[in-house]
């Protein structure tokens, strides 16, 4: 039994779309960060899906190496970004006692 590669790509695209929609619609910064994580993980999923697709096309059972390599680096980048982002959110909270994007209004035209 095998799942067609297209399904994985569609799943990744749906995840990315959910993340992007949340990124634009939600006002809570923590949720916004979660949405960014969702988008990054959608990228990971499609890296692995593409790698699997190429491996299947070449007739080998595993994954081609590019996808997993990239995914490892993406995981690390995502974690570091999350760590920095949460630290910034805490800094904002200590200044303003809120984590809402709507509070970011001191700088504007």
């Amino acid at each position: 039994m095998s799942v067609p590669s297209e399904h994985l790509f569609v799943l990744a695209a749906v995840l990315f779309a959910i993340g992007a929609a949340g990124f634009f619609l939600r006002r809570n910064l923590i949720v916004v960060l979660m949405c960014v994580e969702l988008m990054l993980n959608a990228a990971n999923l499609s890296f692995l899906a593409a790698s699997r697709m190429h491996a299947l096309a070449a007739g080998s059972p595993g994954l081609s190496l590019e996808g997993p390599t990239f995914a490892i680096f993406v995981i690390v980048v995502a974690a570091i970004e999350a760590a920095v982002g949460l630290a910034l959110v805490i800094a904002l909270y200590r200044n303003r006692q809120t984590v809402s994007l709507d509070a970011l209004t001191d700088l504007k035209d």
């Binding site: 988008m39 990054l40 593409a50 190429h54 990239f70 001191d106």
Partner: protein
């Protein structure tokens, strides 16, 4: 030690400097002054060495190619690093004396990321270098989160978050697009997308990658963070932010588009043209009504990125060379402008245009420097910015991009208004105070370096132009 290690010699030197700074401070807390001068000395040594021994060759698996092209950018970033550290020194000592080592460490690591970009020939290295350049900036923007001019709310956290949120989204966008592109090509090599006609999925991916880079460059329509972050973050850091990462974003874009996807230009060239034109229009027009000098310069930076993108649109070797020339000019001029502003604001308490009035009277030297930098940004002969704009528009004209050239010329006339309004407020008589402006030794040194570069390159653009052409030729014919 493997023989290829020397292609990363400069990056390794800067990394080692950063680690030494961090560990020395951890062992025994050091003064900001000591650490900063040490960093400057190390960067200057690396810069001088790069003229004696030129790293060349490729890293295993062709992930990195060192040569005149990468060297050009490594030298540019080293110079930017020297200016960045010198410019931050006094501020660092007086305002955030508690954690100077971490500030310098983050700035140097961001520099390493930027230096790696030009030679990267593999997506993994490019993305990691790009993030290495970008992530420290989020932290640096919020570095003095409780610091701020009296009377103003504490803006740094907000500025940093605006930078962070757009930056993180652009990373996600780039990576998802990249997954589609690499998925289509099956290789993580930059030039892995061999066939000129690609699946719709991959072309969507390419546009996503382009959008992701647009965020980092601060090009329209992804420029929202630029004025806000410039206004809220500490000024010496903004001076660095406004040049090094932008040059980094641009070189990454050039490498990706002209080395990776030159055969797919029908897809990305129109999008890039629109982005360039929109950046020039929006940047210049939005800068007109600004009252805060940093916001004004933020929008001016958006416009300048539009000009340099015009050169990329030309898709020719001379276009690339002119983009390089433009970047060098932009780095020194913009650094200078921000540092003078910083010196003025430290003494008058704010960056609003009416707070820097009378600068020329209070410090004729700083006033003259600011005037020269502003004229250079505006593109008045014979400051270096004039040649930069001229060369870029000429290259675009040669490539037949008449529409973009006309847009650029018309808008540089518009730009005169706001650039001259900065100059005028400097020379306006009624300054709030007549006290002379004091600036520390390091800050004066950094401003003098910028001044020398802007004047020198304005009067003798030839040598730099030759270097830029050499680098562009090496890029075009390189691996």
């Amino acid at each position: 030690m493997p023989p290829w290690i020397q292609v990363f010699a400069l990056e390794l030197a800067v990394t080692a400097t950063a680690l030494v700074v961090l560990v020395c401070d951890a062992l025994r807390p050091c003064r900001a002054r000591t650490l900063a001068w040490f960093s400057v000395a190390a960067l200057a040594t690396a810069l001088c060495t790069s003229f004696v021994v030129e790293p060349a060759g490729t890293a295993p698996h062709g992930v990195y190619a060192a040569g005149p092209w990468s060297l050009f950018f490594e030298r540019l970033f080293l110079a930017a690093g020297i200016l960045g550290v010198l410019g931050s020194l006094d501020w660092l000592e007086s305002r955030v004396a508690r954690r100077p080592a971490e500030y310098l460490f983050l700035m140097l690591m961001s520099l390493v990321g930027a230096m790696l970009l030009a030679g990267a020939r593999d997506w993994v290295l490019l993305v990691v270098a790009f993030e290495l350049m970008g992530i420290p900036l989020y932290v640096l923007a919020a570095y003095a989160k409780l610091d701020g001019p009296p009377g103003e709310p504490q803006l740094a956290a907000e500025a940093a978050l605006k930078l962070y949120v757009t930056g993180a989204a652009s990373t996600a966008l780039t990576l998802f697009g990249l997954a589609l592109v690499i998925g289509a090509g099956g290789s993580s090599s930059l030039a892995g997308l061999a066939s000129p006609d690609v699946a719709p999925l991959a072309s969507a991916g390419m546009l996503l990658v382009l959008a992701g880079f647009g965020f980092k460059l601060g090009a329209v329509p992804f420029h929202m963070w630029v004025p806000d972050t410039y206004q809220g973050a500490p000024t010496p850091f903004v001076a660095f932010l406004s040049v090094a990462p932008k040059a980094g974003g641009l070189v990454a874009l050039v490498v990706v588009l002209l080395h990776g996807w030159p055969r797919h230009h029908e897809l990305w060239a129109p999008a890039l043209g629109v982005i360039a034109a929109a950046s020039m229009v929006v940047g210049n027009l939005f800068a007109l009504p600004q009252r805060d000098a940093r916001r004004l310069l933020g929008y001016s930076g958006v416009a300048q990125m539009g000009y340099v993108l015009v050169a990329v649109c030309a898709r020719s070797e001379s276009g690339v060379a002119m983009a390089l020339f433009f970047l060098v000019s932009y780095v020194f001029t913009n650094f200078g402008v921000f540092l003078v502003l910083h010196a003025a604001a430290e003494n008058s308490g704010g960056h609003a245009l009416d707070q820097i009035t009378g600068l020329s009277r209070r410090s004729p030297w700083l006033g003259a420097a600011l005037l020269l930098f502003v004229l250079s940004l505006a593109g008045i002969p014979f400051a270096v910015g004039f040649w930069a704009k001229l060369f870029v528009l000429l290259a675009a004209f040669e490539a037949g991009l008449v529409g973009l050239v006309v847009t650029g010329v018309v808008l540089s006339v518009v730009a005169l208004f706001y650039y001259l309004s900065v100059a005028r407020s400097t020379f306006m008589a009624d300054g709030r105070s007549a006290e002379p402006v004091r600036a520390g030794l390091a800050l004066r040194a950094a401003i003098s370096l910028c001044l020398a570069a802007v004047l020198g390159l304005g009067l003798w653009p030839g040598p730099l132009l030759a270097q830029a052409r050499l680098a562009a030729a090496a890029f075009g014919g390189g691996p």
